[in-house]
Symmetry: C2
Subunit: 243 residues, 2 copies
Amino acid sequence: MSQQVPALPDLPEATVARLPEYLRALHHLAESGNDTVSSEALAAAAGVNSAKLRKDLSHLGSYGTRGVGYDVALLIDQIEYVLGLTHRRAVALVGVGNLGHALAGYAGFGSRGFRIAALFDADPGRVGEHINGLVVRHIDELPEIAEAESIAIGVIATPATAAQSVADRLVAAGVTSILNFAPCVLSVPDGVDVRKVDLAIELQILSFHEHRKASLIALPAAGGLTALPGGLAATGTEEAVGS
Amino acid sequence: MSQQVPALPDLPEATVARLPEYLRALHHLAESGNDTVSSEALAAAAGVNSAKLRKDLSHLGSYGTRGVGYDVALLIDQIEYVLGLTHRRAVALVGVGNLGHALAGYAGFGSRGFRIAALFDADPGRVGEHINGLVVRHIDELPEIAEAESIAIGVIATPATAAQSVADRLVAAGVTSILNFAPCVLSVPDGVDVRKVDLAIELQILSFHEHRKASLIALPAAGGLTALPGGLAATGTEEAVGS
DNA sequence: CGCGATTTGTGCACGACTTCACAAGCGCCT
DNA sequence: AGGCGCTTGTGAAGTCGTGCACAAATCGCG
């Protein structure tokens, strides 16, 4: 018939979340001159288990060669295709305060498939400011610019109080994916994806582990000993990069 | 007989990751003058399912009242205790570039249990700079300052090339939790926790969903299309969002 | 040409997390 | 006091993700 390759396999979310990590590791390997890589080596570079990596890659059709490994360049193409990175996606950044300023200047976006196509803010005092070669527009201009630049992804870096309203305006302007840095829950229509990054939450999670570690030390090996699975004590045989 | 408060229950990781979200929602409710809240209402405010919320809270001893709900103030205390937020934790921030600068000025840390106690950079040109009331120190000073300030949490906002070396120095200085913004895998000894935030990865995950949505629209019901490796056909069939 | 070394792809069992559904508990009203 | 409505806490079932272990496939070499 016509096509062999499935258009876009339904990938497990967990796999999707790891593909970018593999991609980064692969680019690194390619720059180091590697043509092929084994699942073991790539897994180590990406900080995961090799079986998991093979299963992840198998979901997207598997282009490895048994006894040899994966072709680095081919795998890069594969993953970039699946992630939709075959062209640069235009991104709108709303909120040019402290964090937004930094995001606007972050080189990592440009080098990994994205182009910040427009900056917006609601504060007239900020409109007109030049950042990294872009001029800050007023948020009222969002609809036209989103249309003109084919923007489908928006980043919210405003205070939490403004975030929902900005999200609504982004959606109205045709944005269907939002990355939210504001510490609040956004409600959006079906079909719009939201991912959230909350810096304080990350620290609070670490704080929990600090607290737990401290309390474990405070309570020596006395009575309880509880349900600590097997001998988590001193397993010298550690090799995987922990995380 | 003796202990009223369970030392520290073993919480599922997924639960730990949601507790900060509940906490934020609770603070919001408290400011709005609510004394009690039902699991349904709190779940909505935190963006989760109410059964999940109840199960999460039940893990930490459950202080709800049937027929009424949860006491907001009590629950805040409970969660803050479990997360180890009963005192402000000192944080060291390494790397005062684009992103580090923004993080140093981010008010959300201060208002949610953390105190940025020191800024470090390796670039002598940056040492001495004042940011938000703090002076940037050279990274060589890390050991003494970490000791003096009892710093157990470190944030890495350096380029990827420097991140592993910074992590090693943080660990050597007694840091046991690291929040890593550099796009690379860190390897650390057992007992040290690492969390990673990669801004480009978040966008790439959104990009995948964009790609999938676009391909679903492009393919009404038909089978596959899409050329793969050899061609990487520059599919001009991408969205046109504004329609 | 066949053999052994190597590495992928995957069936399967296990564990973690989610969701449903409901009994048990609590306060309020009569 | 007793019943009723509301809400929590949780058993149980279902879903998802992980990791092991091994057969299948490929390459290099004698």
